[in-house]
């Protein structure tokens, strides 16, 4: 009887703890590192007030200079490092985060929280999990199989918004067989943020970045080639790189790529199918309308549209930059 009573008490305590979870101000490091996939976002304790996305102590917001487009949704990014650990800078590349790190990205449309994607650095590597927000905006629930939501973009277009499933997270986040963060590369973070992060003891040093990716809102102030290459790096190169999901295409769109054929100049497609749009080359200098890259960006049909994942409407600002860049190429 004593055993049973104790068990009941324990169970009661667990339920009480769960009920309090949304207002907890403490990140639960074990939720990040242990083997399970928490069913609710609140179990991590990343937010003091989840609905307002106000971060718990130790959870640092950041932004990317040029972000992935994602139908123009508002994105709130946070990073959490376990107490007493720090990330290592690797020149202008991805910050090297210790085990126990969580990267958190919340998507908002029409002023509402839609989904939060988390990347958890475990002993076994990075794990990507998608969480869908409830109607009350109090918590988000794990949706390993993804979901579709009717929504409106900031441009006012009605779309079927897709929350990626766990495998689709990996499609973009895999280099070879390894899951990896994409966004927080030093070149796509501001010098001020890096310095502050280092001062806070979360980064070994603020790295010198030779060629920083420009702020997307400053795209008209920088050479069009810089803005265009920044856009391609951020929106395309996570797949279009030599060890990414599109490695077999031979089309590589990273910031560091110099080879013109790899970048698509006078390069023929290999497996484009009707994605070619009847065109011969990925990029025809001077002729955006004859370039497959532009055609696929400007198309929303499955099997044609690029990127394949993470968008349901056209990025008109992105198209403008890519159009101007290709038109100016000789």
């Amino acid at each position: 009887m004593k055993v049973l009573a104790a068990a009941l008490l324990l169970a009661g305590a667990a339920i009480a703890a769960r009920a309090q979870a949304p207002v907890s101000a403490q990140v639960r490091e074990r939720a990040i590192t242990n083997g399970a996939s928490p069913q609710n976002l609140s179990e991590f304790g990343f937010f003091v007030d989840p609905g307002a996305q106000s971060p718990a102590p130790g959870v640092t917001p950041y932004r990317l200079n040029t972000p992935l487009w994602s139908d123009g949704s508002e994105k709130l990014r946070f990073v959490y490092l376990p107490a007493g650990t720090k990330a290592l800078a690797d020149e202008d590349g991805l910050l090297k985060f210790p085990v126990g790190t969580a990267l958190i990205k919340t998507f908002k449309l029409e002023g509402r929280l839609i989904e939060t994607r988390v990347l958890l650095h475990r002993e076994t590597g990075w794990l990507a999990l998608p969480y869908q927000w409830n109607a009350e905006q109090t918590d988000a629930k794990l949706v390993v199989a993804g979901a579709r939501i009717e929504a409106k973009t900031p441009a006012g277009e009605a779309i079927s918004y897709a929350i990626p499933n766990k495998n689709q997270c990996k499609e973009c986040h895999a280099l070879g067989d390894t899951v990896t963060p994409i966004g927080p590369k030093a070149r796509n973070l501001s010098a001020v943020w890096l310095t502050d992060f280092a001062k806070a003891g979360k980064l070994d040093h603020a790295p010198k970045v030779a060629r920083r990716i420009p702020l997307w809102e400053d795209r008209a102030k920088v050479p069009v080639a810089v803005a265009a290459r920044a856009y391609l790096d951020v929106n395309c190169a996570h797949c279009h790189n030599p060890v990414g999901a599109a490695s077999n295409s031979g089309l590589f769109l990273g910031w560091e790529i110099g080879d013109p054929v790899m970048l698509g100049f006078a390069k023929r497609p290999v497996a484009a199918g009707r994605g070619s749009g009847g065109l011969e080359y990925d990029i025809v200098p001077g002729k955006p309308e004859q370039s497959i890259l532009y055609y696929r960006m400007a198309n929303l049909e499955g099997g044609v549209s690029m990127p394949e994942l993470g968008r349901a409407s056209l990025d008109r600002d992105g198209l403008t930059i890519i159009h101007a860049w290709i038109r100016g190429l000789r």
Partner: protein, 400 residues
């Protein structure tokens, strides 16, 4: 007692051979099929079977599998149908990115992009899978039906593909490949092996495509140097569908009515096939015809060998520049084997005359051509491909 002990040892050995708690996850067709099926493909563990019920799964998004050693098994290629007619996103119907996967006994219909793609998925088996675009050959159909790429160890056995706007079965940038006993029709290419090595293409029926079996090597790709491939005992019959590939794709240049076509590649043996009624060319051997800058790429076909093929009909409606004049000159039909004349001619183990188009070099075009008939010479023994095909261990996963 000793016998009992032995028994226990044997039983534990068996237990070790299969993952300890391999299980079957049953997924029925019907309401919520998209998320139930996708969730099963995510929670499956190595050794598990995801068992698809009979019926039609109505899907709105591409599916994906990223767990090693999983079998996805339906109730038969006509009983279990994954219907992508209403697909909204993703570049293919099903994407596999893990090793040692078996896909069997189900169908994929009307995907917006490719049917089933497996990338970097070693030792994959496709067995009795059907991929169909039900509206017949259309430019708006997806590109590839069955599409393994960047993989070592590929077995495609007993599958059926119809309506692909590129290749019905396409194996790219891979090695150790067997494509056998499949039926491909009404696609631009029936079977295409591209930038790959050590492939065995045998016992297939390819008909009513634009081209039957294509062995290509293309420049500017991460994996090049295709070759060491055997094409034997296939039926390559009446591939006469007008080319409906979107322009820009390499297969858009395949003439309607091509039986077997080799472009670039080193070491292709075409042996004991029945090649009938392909109206342009029963066998066509060519160099890569387009400009390229890749210095590591060899555009010429080398060591292409013909042996013991049974030819009948064909060559009567050649879709080649000057084809009508050539046809008249040869009394109504072209010879069975046509070579563009660039590099060294194919070789034959039996007395065979071929038509050389006499194109003087790559990137020159037919305007400068001077056609002639050649007697083929036998190959050196060392030139014959050997050691082709998928690892034999994969056969165990391709059984009824």
């Amino acid at each position: 007692m000793r016998i009992t002990a032995l028994f226990i040892v044997a039983a534990s050995a068996l237990a070790l051979a299969a993952p300890a708690h391999a299980k079957t996850i049953a997924v029925a067709a019907g309401e919520g099929g998209q998320s139930r099926l996708q969730e099963a493909l995510i929670v499956a563990e190595p050794g598990d079977v995801v068992q698809l019920g009979a019926g039609r799964f109505v899907l709105t998004d591409g599916l994906s599998l990223d767990v090693k050693g999983v079998t996805v098994r339906g109730a038969g290629m006509d009983a279990t149908v994954l219907d992508f007619s209403g697909q909204k996103g993703a570049g293919e119907g099903l994407l596999v990115t893990s090793d040692e996967v078996t896909l069997r006994d189900f169908a994929v219909e009307n995907t917006k992009g490719d049917g089933i793609k497996s990338k970097g998925a070693d030792n994959i088996v496709y067995y009795r899978v059907r991929v169909t675009w039900t509206g017949g050959p259309k430019e708006t159909n997806g590109a590839y039906g069955i599409y393994p790429v960047s993989s070592t160890g590929v077995l495609i056995d007993g599958c059926k593909v119809s309506g692909a706007s590129d290749a019905g079965i396409y194996v790219g940038q891979s090695k150790a490949i067997t494509v056998r006993y499949n039926f491909v029709e009404q696609s631009v290419a029936g079977i295409e092996i591209e930038n790959s090595r050590d492939a065995l293409v045998t016992g297939n029926m390819v008909t009513r495509n634009t081209g039957g079996i294509l062995i290509f090597d293309l420049p500017n790709l991460p994996v090049m140097g295709g070759g060491n491939t055997i094409i034997e005992d296939n039926l390559v019959v009446a591939n006469d569908t007008p080319n409906f590939a979107p322009k820009g794709n390499i297969v858009a240049g395949v003439p309607r009515g091509t039986g077997v076509m080799v472009m670039a590649n080193d070491g292709v043996l075409i042996r004991s096939n029945t090649i009938s009624d392909n109206p342009t060319a029963q066998v066509l051997v060519v160099a890569y015809p387009k400009p390229f800058t890749d210095k590591t790429y060899n555009p010429l076909p080398r060591n292409v060998i013909l042996s013991g093929n049974r030819f009948s009909g064909g060559g009567n409606e050649p879709q080649l520049p000057g084809g009508d004049m050539l046809k008249a000159a040869f009394g109504g039909r072209l010879p069975d084997v046509i070579w563009d004349g660039i590099g060294k001619p194919p070789m034959a183990k039996d007395p065979l005359q071929i038509l050389s188009l006499g194109v003087p070099g790559p990137e020159v075009g037919m305007a400068e051509a001077s056609p002639s008939l050649l007697n083929l010479v036998p190959p050196a023994l060392s030139a014959t491909p050997a050691g082709v095909g998928a690892p034999t261990a994969l056969d165990a996963r391709a059984q009824p």
